[in-house]
Assembly symmetry: C2
Homo-oligomer: 410 residues x 2
């Protein structure tokens, strides 16, 4: 069974953590000087044990194993949200690096190895997962032309040029080269910790449906407009949201989530009856049937509030992502490895957050593994995972890699 | 019975409307060049028939009647909200001007006359009714020092100096000079129109209680945080507001109003469970007992939501104004005059909006009269009142003035 060097793994993670250190986390937004530095750092680590590594034209780092394959593609993303956690995607990149090294050192897998990939901008500073989109061929030049950093407005083209990547080719996945794609990540939630588990084997990455609910009433003086003559958009918003809170639990699945993240009243003054309201609303589930029935219920509740009056209520779909099913045999490989490393401390679970594996799943069998986030914290500098869990996760990851490569060798 | 010159009244109103004309309304914010011009215009109109008129150090226009009195003090405010209606307070100023002229011309009231006043900044561009506050002695120099225009930040001191008013004394009300204060105004609501009435005789100016409701939950990832582990401040806000909508109607009086004018979720992003919420909430009624019981109910509902959890809910009082009762004999005087001019088309009603009469009522018997606003519109350039209603209102106003002065003469 393939094992890893735990000290080397932790040393690499702690080394990478120094690049863009912020409090106990890191600040390494996509194509910032520290992000670019971390990509060069990774290229060096990869070439050090014989991989053929490069940064491509969208800033993906690709490290190719020797041997004619087929190989496993493994990795995640290396940049972070602003002032965010030190593990997040970096964990999955270093798991892949360590698994690739362990395979190379073992000499037991013949022509088979692990290609390591660190996708660019999974965190969406510039666009919706442009690195993995580019890799599978769904990122257009026009999207790159239009993309600007959401924090400071720098165009993606300009940031790529500043990083010295202008004119480099964008590498596309050679499908025949690979058996599958494997990604590890911190959970970004508290479910593993709450259930005292070490490993989550991902069944599916949830689909996320986002809406804008628009309510039109009549703006009026809050002192002189009688209650029965009002068309208060805020009251309609409150009533609709309360109806959602009453009805959604009746039809939701166990891990369905829904959120009204923003409510804006227009004009939003203390002494004016709101004439307009906007609600940003979303729900997520791993099961398309559940998503469909939540959508139907939301439409029904919006129509009911519109019909009740006195305000006009409308629903706009902002975006829809479909659930991405993880491959069954890869799930099994992770589960078997987990049972060897940490018996009974692993479970199947959906991913509530999006990951590069969602982009890859329609193109190649994909599998994901989670380790616990302490207190469920993520996207914040205080994010953390215990060293014991980090090492256990790496052993399970490498264990599955070894089993899959051994099976491929036959 | 004292009557007025309807053509002269309308001519003055239409003349004044030209100063700062905006579409069919006017834009004459406090101490803007057009506001200052309108105050000089009024001084001229007042001196033209023998009043001793001036603009004082806070920009109040005071026009003193000849004769040793006691006199009636009458008026309202002359500035407007931004891009607002042409009548609003201007109506009350011109009613006072016309009543004063009619008294002067009639020669029937001996030493008694009408002092005309146009208070500064009832609309609160700089402060809370500084003109009438100054007149009754409750405006400090420190408040003036601190006051800045809410639209463009100009200090009140600077605006007064630019208007040439720096160093002028602020005039205080000589209580012994006056029998009472009378103010006319457009209704700023649709109650008179809805009830097919011409005159509203104000019983009381409502008290307005303003609150900030603060909710503290836990900010989290909207995809990975299970529903049962959430402390969603937005959900708590919605539930509390819905409870208010259910409970308030049970204990409110006929004309009680309540409004949640602003709901702010923190951080207000589509994919983040809100960790905080702030609601600006207010209610108004003319009866202190009703206000007390609404306050008790609000406290009860906030405590209940706080106790239910999972969020902490707190209530902060932002400001309280108490209802200001209009004087009973002045109400009777308006009602008797209205019954002569427009029999059965007048009713007693509270004022849902604040007016200078609220500032004056604790210091001098005060009375108010309303005329209808077409479609209930106010604080918007499309605000209007029919000429017939304007003239009827002026006749009722002058009729009451004549009756009160005749009674004073004995």
């Amino acid at each position: 069974m393939l094992d890893i060097n735990a000290d080397r793994l932790l040393a690499d993670l702690y080394d990478l953590r120094k690049i863009g250190a912020f409090k106990t986390g890191v600040h390494r937004p996509t194509l910032s000087p520290d992000d670019v530095l971390s990509r060069h750092w990774l290229v060096e680590r990869l070439t050090a044990f014989g991989h053929d590594a490069e940064i491509d034209g969208i800033a993906n780092v690709i490290g190719r194993a020797p041997g004619k394959g087929p190989h496993i593609l493994a990795g995640s993303h290396i940049e972070t949200q602003n002032e965010a956690g030190w593990l997040d995607g970096a964990l999955g990149v270093i798991y892949a690096l360590e698994a690739a090294r362990a395979v190379a050192e073992s000499g037991a897998y013949g022509e088979h190895g692990v290609d390591v990939i660190a996708f660019a901008d999974e965190e969406g500073h510039f666009a919706d997962m442009p690195g993995s989109q580019s890799w599978v061929g769904t990122l257009s030049e026009e999207t790159i032309d239009r993309a600007v950093d959401r924090s400071h407005g720098t165009p993606l083209r300009e940031a790529l040029a500043k990083a010295g990547l202008h004119g480099r080719p964008r590498r596309r996945m050679e499908r025949d080269r690979y058996l599958c794609f494997l990604e590890a990540h911190i959970e970004q939630g508290g479910w593993l910790e709450a259930n005292d588990l070490t490993i989550g084997v991902v069944t599916s990455i949830v689909g996320s449906w986002q809406y804008r609910i628009l309510i039109k009433g009549q703006q009026n003086h809050a002192g002189t407009t009688m209650m029965k003559m009002r068309r208060d958009a805020g009251v309609a918003a409150t009533r609709l949201l309360q109806a959602i809170e009453t009805e959604f639990p009746k039809i939701a699945a166990e891990l369905t989530v829904w959120t009204a993240g923003r409510i804006t009243l227009d004009p939003g003054a203390p002494a004016i009856v709101p004439g307009g309201a906007e609600i940003l609303f979303q729900f997520r589930d791993a099961d398309s049937a559940v998503l469909d029935r939540l959508h139907a219920k939301l439409e029904e509740l919006v129509k009911a509030e519109d019909a009740t009056g006195p305000c006009d209520v409308g629903l706009e779909v902002v975006s829809i992502t479909h659930p991405a099913l993880m491959d069954g045999s890869l799930r099994a490989a992770f589960t078997e490895a987990a049972e060897r490393i940490c018996p009974d401390r692993h479970k199947l679970m959906p991913s509530g957050a999006g990951h590069d594996a969602r982009t890859l799943a329609p193109h190649i069998p994909s599998g994901m593994l989670f380790v616990p986030s302490i207190n469920g914290v993520s996207h914040h500098w205080s994010e953390n995972t215990s060293d014991a869990d980090i090492v256990a996760g790496a052993r399970v990851f490498a264990g599955a890699v070894g089993d899959l490569l051994a099976a491929a060798r036959g």
